[in-house]
C-alpha cells in the first residue's frame, strides 16, 4: 500500500514537468513577433517597437533558456498578464475558480446519486421496462451535445417561460455586492448567502444554478449509469450473491449491502473520467449560460486569442486534474486491496 502510494507520488513530478514542457512548447509555436504582440497594450508608435520587446524579454532566445526563465516565473506564481480579465492570470483564475467549483460540486450530486441509483435499478430489473427506459435515456444522453441541450433548456425555461435566467446572479445581487451590503467571503455564492443570512440571495443563486447544473450533469449521468449497470449485472451473477439470497436475506439487503458494494469498485475507476467530463463540460456549460466561471473566461480568452490566459488556464487545469486523479487512484487502492498487488 505505502509502496504503491509512493510510486504514484514519484510519478507526479514527472507528469507535471511534462505538462509544463508541453504548455511552453505550445507557446513556443508562436513566432517571436506574435509573442511580443501578446504583451503590447497599445498599437506601437515606432517601427522597431516589437523588435525592442523581443530584445528586452529575450523572446528569440533558444527554447531551453526561455523555458527555464518561464518556469522560474511560474514557480513564483506569475503566469503572465490576462488581457481579457485585465489582471494577472493567476488572479483571474483564482477569481473565477469558486464559481466553477460551485457549479461542478452541485452537478456532481445528481450525477453520482441518479447515475448510480438508476444503474443499480436497471441491473436489478434487467430487461424490464425500467431497464430499457434507462438505457434509452443513457444512449440519448450520450448522443446529446451539451450545448444543444443547454440552448434548448434556455429556449423553454428562459425565453419562453421566463422562469430560470442565464448568468450567475441577478443584477440586483451584483449591485448589492458592489455596494458592500452583501459580503463575498468564499465567492461560492450558495455558501456566501448562508453566511450573510440572505435567503433571497440564496433563492436567486439557485434559480440561476438549476439549468447549468442539469446541463452539466446530464451527460455524466448517462456515462455513470452504463458503467454501474454493467458492473452490477456482473456482480448479481456471482455465487456469493446467490448464497446471500439462499440464506434468506431480504432482496433489498442482498442488492444494496452485498452486491452494490462490490459493484461500485469498477465504478470508482470512473472517478477520473468523471472529473475530466465535469471540467470539460464546465467550459461549454458556462459559455452557453453566460455563467461567469473559469471556463467562461477561458473560452472567451481563447476566441479573443488571449493565449497567455488560455495557457495559464490549461496549466492550472492539468495540475488540478493530475492531483485529482492521484487522489482517486489512492482512494481506489484503499477501497480495493487487489489493486495494490499490481
Amino acid at each position: 500500500m505505502t509502496a504503491y502510494v509512493i510510486r504514484r507520488l514519484l510519478l507526479l513530478p514527472i507528469t507535471l514537468f511534462g505538462v509544463t514542457l508541453f504548455v511552453f512548447g505550445v507557446y513556443s509555436f508562436l513566432e517571436p513577433g506574435m509573442k511580443a504582440a501578446l504583451y503590447v497594450r497599445d498599437i506601437p508608435k515606432t517601427a522597431d517597437a516589437l523588435d525592442r520587446i523581443i530584445q528586452k524579454y529575450g523572446l528569440a532566445d533558444p527554447f531551453h533558456v526561455q523555458y527555464w526563465r518561464w518556469l522560474n516565473q511560474v514557480f513564483r506564481g506569475n503566469l503572465g498578464w490576462s488581457k481579457t480579465a485585465q489582471r494577472p492570470v493567476l488572479d483571474a483564475i483564482l477569481y473565477y475558480f469558486p464559481a466553477t467549483v460551485e457549479l461542478v460540486l452541485w452537478a456532481a450530486i445528481p450525477v453520482l446519486f441518479i447515475g448510480i441509483w438508476l444503474g443499480i435499478l436497471s441491473a436489478v430489473h434487467h430487461n424490464k421496462p425500467i431497464d430499457h427506459a434507462s438505457r434509452v435515456f443513457a444512449l440519448i444522453g450520450w448522443s446529446f451535445p451539451s450545448y444543444v441541450y443547454g440552448l434548448l433548456l434556455l429556449m423553454v425555461f428562459y425565453a419562453m417561460l421566463h422562469w430560470l435566467p442565464p448568468g450567475r446572479v441577478s443584477d440586483w445581487v451584483i449591485k448589492e455586492i458592489n455596494a458592500g451590503t452583501f459580503r463575498e467571503v468564499t465567492r461560492i455564492y450558495t455558501i456566501d448567502a448562508i453566511i450573510n443570512g440572505r435567503p433571497d440571495v440564496l433563492a436567486d443563486v439557485f434559480k440561476h444554478m438549476v439549468l447549468p447544473v442539469i446541463t452539466l450533469a446530464y451527460i455524466q449521468w448517462a456515462l455513470l449509469l452504463r458503467v454501474t449497470r454493467s458492473s452490477m449485472l456482473e456482480t448479481l451473477r456471482q455465487e456469493y450473491v446467490m448464497t446471500a439470497r439462499s440464506k434468506g436475506l431480504a432482496e433489498r439487503i442482498v442488492v444494496y449491502k452485498h452486491a452494490a458494494r462490490n459493484a461500485m469498485i469498477p465504478v470508482a475507476t470512473m472517478g477520473g473520467m468523471l472529473l475530466i467530463g465535469l471540467m470539460n463540460g464546465a467550459v461549454i456549460t458556462e459559455t452557453v449560460f453566460n455563467y461567469r466561471g473559469m471556463g467562461w473566461w477561458a473560452a472567451n480568452a481563447a476566441t479573443q486569442l488571449d493565449i497567455i490566459s488560455v495557457l495559464g488556464f490549461t496549466l492550472f487545469n492539468a495540475v488540478i486534474l493530475s492531483l485529482g486523479i492521484l487522489f482517486i487512484d489512492i482512494l481506489y487502492a484503499v477501497i480495493d486491496p487487489r489493486i495494490r498487488l499490481e
Partner: protein, 312 residues
C-alpha cells in the same frame, strides 16, 4: 456478411444504419439538394442579404418546401425552408453541406487519431523496456490535460499561425485524442507478443515490421477499432463544440456547430427564433445518435468483453 446481418437484425442498430444511409445520401447529393451559388466555394453557406435578424422558414411546412427544391419546383434562393440565421445564412443550405463536414470530421479525425494511437501503442508494447516506459510517460503527460480544454488551447494557438478553419479544430482534437487507443492496444499486444506463433515467426527470421503488421496487429487490433468506432459520435460532438465556442470553422462555413453558435446571440428570444437552433441541433443529435447506435451494436457483436466499457 454475418456481421452486417447481425447489425441489421438489431432494431436499434438498424435504425442507426438507416439514419447513416440517409445522411450519407444527403452528403453525396448535396450539390443537387442545395446548389451552391458559388461553385468554387460550396462550403460557404449561401447568404441572402445581411440583415442581422434571423428570418423564419417560409411556406407552410418546411419539409414540403424541401421537397419542392429537391424536385426542382422551386428555388431555395427564394424560399428558405428552414429559415435563415443572422446575416441571412440559409439554414437548409448549411445543414445539407454541413453533413459533409460532419462526415469528414467524424471519420477523418477518428481515423487519424486511432492510427496515431495504434502506432504509438504498438511501438511501446512491442519493443518494451525503456521505450515502453518513455512512451507511456509521454502518454501520461497528454492525459494530464482535460481533453476539450487542451484542444481549445491548441486551436487558439494555431489560429494566428494557420488561421481559423476546420483544419485547426481537427488538429487540436487529434493531438489530444490518441492516448486512449495507444493504451488499449498496448495492453492487448503485451499479452499477444509472447504467444507461440509470434515466437515462431521470430524464429523463422521475420523482421520487426512483418511480425507486428502480419502476426500481432491482426490479433490485437479489434478491440481498439471497436472503441474507435464508438468514438466517432463523440468526436463529431467535440468538433462541433470547438466551432460552437468560436475556435473551429469560420463564420459562414457549413458546419452544424458553427451554425449553432449563432444561437448564442439570441438567447433571450430563442423561442421566437427557434429554427436557428432546432434544425442544426436536430441534425447534429441524429447524426451522433446514428453513429453511437451502430458503434454500440458493433461492440456487442465483435467484442463481448467490452460490454459496458465506456470510451470517451
Amino acid at each position: 456478411m454475418k456481421l452486417v446481418k447481425q447489425l441489421l437484425r438489431n432494431p436499434l442498430s438498424l435504425f442507426g444504419i438507416v439514419l447513416l444511409l440517409f445522411f450519407g445520401l444527403v452528403a453525396i447529393f448535396a450539390p443537387w439538394l442545395a446548389p451552391p451559388p458559388n461553385p468554387f466555394e460550396p462550403y460557404r453557406i449561401a447568404q441572402f442579404g445581411y440583415s442581422p435578424t434571423p428570418k423564419p422558414p417560409t411556406g407552410p411546412n418546411p419539409l414540403s418546401e424541401v421537397w419542392k427544391i429537391v424536385t426542382r419546383h422551386s428555388d431555395f434562393s427564394k424560399t428558405h425552408p428552414f429559415g435563415t440565421t443572422e446575416g441571412q445564412y440559409d439554414v437548409y443550405y448549411g445543414i445539407v453541406w454541413g453533413t459533409r463536414t460532419a462526415f469528414l470530421a467524424g471519420i477523418c479525425i477518428t481515423g487519424i487519431t486511432a492510427l496515431i494511437g495504434i502506432i504509438w501503442g504498438s511501438l511501446a508494447a512491442y519493443f518494451g523496456g525503456w521505450m515502453d516506459m518513455a512512451f507511456m510517460r509521454i502518454t501520461d503527460i497528454f492525459q494530464a490535460f482535460p481533453f476539450l480544454i487542451a484542444a481549445m488551447t491548441i486551436a487558439a494557438v494555431l489560429q494566428p499561425r494557420i488561421g481559423r478553419s476546420i483544419t485547426t479544430a481537427a488538429i487540436a482534437l487529434i493531438v489530444f485524442g490518441w492516448m486512449g487507443y495507444s493504451r488499449l492496444i498496448r495492453g492487448d499486444i503485451l499479452s499477444i507478443k509472447e504467444r507461440d506463433y509470434v515466437q515462431a515467426a521470430r524464429a523463422a527470421g521475420a523482421g520487426h515490421l512483418r511480425i507486428v503488421v502480419r502476426h500481432i496487429l491482426p490479433n490485437a487490433i479489434y478491440p481498439t477499432l471497436v472503441v474507435a468506432s464508438m468514438d466517432i459520435g463523440s468526436y463529431v460532438i467535440s468538433f462541433a463544440a470547438l466551432s460552437f465556442l468560436g475556435l473551429g470553422a469560420e463564420v459562414g462555413y457549413a458546419d452544424w456547430g458553427q451554425m449553432l453558435s449563432f444561437a448564442r446571440n439570441w438567447i433571450p428570444r430563442l423561442h421566437q427564433y427557434w429554427w436557428i437552433i432546432l434544425y442544426p441541433g436536430l441534425a447534429l443529435i441524429l447524426f451522433v445518435l446514428a453513429w453511437n447506435l451502430v458503434g454500440d451494436a458493433l461492440r456487442d457483436i465483435l467484442d463481448p468483453r467490452l460490454r459496458g466499457r465506456i470510451a470517451v
